[in-house]
Symmetry: C2
Subunit: 363 residues, 2 copies
Amino acid sequence: MTRIAPSPSPSIARLLADFDARRPAALARAVSIVENQRDGFDALLASLHPRIGRARRIGITGPPGAGKSTLTTQLTLAYREAGLTVGIVAVDPTSPFTGGALLGDRIRMESVALDPGVFIRSLATRGSLGGLSSSTRVVADVLDAFGFDRILLETVGVGQSELDIARSAESTLVVLVPESGDSIQALKAGLMEIGDLFAVNKADRPGADRVRNDIELMLGMRAGRGLQDAPAHHGVDLGRIGNPARAAREAARGEQEERWVPPVLRTVAAKGEGIAELVDALDRHFRYLGTSGELTRRRRARWREQIIEVAEQRLRRRVWQDAGVQAFIDSVLPAVEDGSRTPFGIADELLRRAADILTRTAT
Amino acid sequence: MTRIAPSPSPSIARLLADFDARRPAALARAVSIVENQRDGFDALLASLHPRIGRARRIGITGPPGAGKSTLTTQLTLAYREAGLTVGIVAVDPTSPFTGGALLGDRIRMESVALDPGVFIRSLATRGSLGGLSSSTRVVADVLDAFGFDRILLETVGVGQSELDIARSAESTLVVLVPESGDSIQALKAGLMEIGDLFAVNKADRPGADRVRNDIELMLGMRAGRGLQDAPAHHGVDLGRIGNPARAAREAARGEQEERWVPPVLRTVAAKGEGIAELVDALDRHFRYLGTSGELTRRRRARWREQIIEVAEQRLRRRVWQDAGVQAFIDSVLPAVEDGSRTPFGIADELLRRAADILTRTAT
């Protein structure tokens, strides 16, 4: 029988023992090892693998300044009051221009930072954001395996990071503010697809109701309903969400799946308002995920991505870091520079070498 | 002899003929084909390959609101007055939260948009920003091959995008504003490494001189000089820039390479102030790149990246889109879900299949 997983080294085995004993230091070390892909990270993850699946993963995204961190803190406090443990992964694109704001947010989180039932980790971008979404997923896996009940994945909603992170989450909350301004614009760009729930935060400011209405209209239009029909039920609803054409076909076939209508909530996180309703909505979404089979689908999609990612990472390491491949590339660079060879012709030669390397190093 | 590059299809051959005749429609089509990796894009790029290398590529980055687009426009006007042609690639992370500002910037650019000697393309993020840096590079390649004298690569400086794009550029200009606020903070996070030139824009606002001083101090400190020594020469200077330890070793060996001291300029782009000085500084940097050998180094680094990228893309296409691989992954998902198999054990099996596929499909 093929060896299923790499055997842990003695030091990883010791770490696992401490991890099993729920030692906080072991948790921190395990997170650090998998986040940075240090020696033994794959053996560690493989050993933790059977324990993954109990936690609920909630993504929280939105523009800078929406008050996501404050909302995350309030949600955490609410969960703690209910006796649940919470892991928070804050994805922090390393940029000087958002540095100031994020630092402020992290200070606010100290009201939960001293609670042993809460674990907070900030992940900084190193290299591409693709790498970050992968780190987020495996860090969440470690927290899941350790036994946290809720895992909050908080991202700054710029670029594609929110889409990547949303794929790691089972419920994605999009946080907007009255000053989101061009809120219709905001809703076009992919947030509609990933938002399972919407919250207009700082809802005590002027414009909050307008933003809520805008969002509900957009959701209603995407559902194929007329402008005059506001969504009646926030929560599970039979309706035509997401793909009106497909829904019409399904209706014609007599199939009518349960569909989720994203609720649009009002919160004033700084005052703790609207938090109970948010917790409730998240619970309802999780029940919907279970009864509709969507939870299984999303988790399988996550595993599929991770499988491909792990394989790609290994392949890249074996091939691009091969000394022969490096030497070959060095040797052709002058020809590429002077125009006599192109990257495309060279690519095929590289793939031949890749085939050889992979065949040679197959385990 | 191995076929060096894929032969263009008839339609690509026709496109190339129109491209050679410098037809604007052919340029736009070529850009679109390579940006979106449409059929024939690799044959097209391979055919254009020998013509690449004449243009000067200038990266322009900085926080949202720094006035980059205005500065880019002014730089473009200055180059046009000098009889040079300009291609502009504006990298636009697709995010609802910056959508409004970027739209405003694009409107300003219309003062150059009608000029046949200027070509403007906005690239939106699709998927990871890694893909975007790759698109930027190949679009710049097409503009280069078409004959543009200057190619301006403008990015919103958030996340790692500015670092990725800077690798496509030969000179990178970092644009800050007096309200950059925590400017020392701003300078920590990698901008110091990529900035060949700095410009404090909107320099008629209060705080401009302080920001300039802060930047110069930071540059001086990185150069290993004391706080009391302000950089004396903005431009080519013998000094200890970048890596004081290495510079000390080189000095010990009797080597003292020309080093570049990034100038810190004042501009008020909206009024066209400081633009002539900027053009001059960019020209000086380009001369430095030539005499120091740095131009060759940077271009080779760019080709190396592109070679690996092309090979990786091909590999990914051949392996992950293989029907057998997809079916295999589908078949193991339930076991991964229930914990009896891990992504790590599966990865090795996938690599064996990858080796087979690559061997089979080798050209």
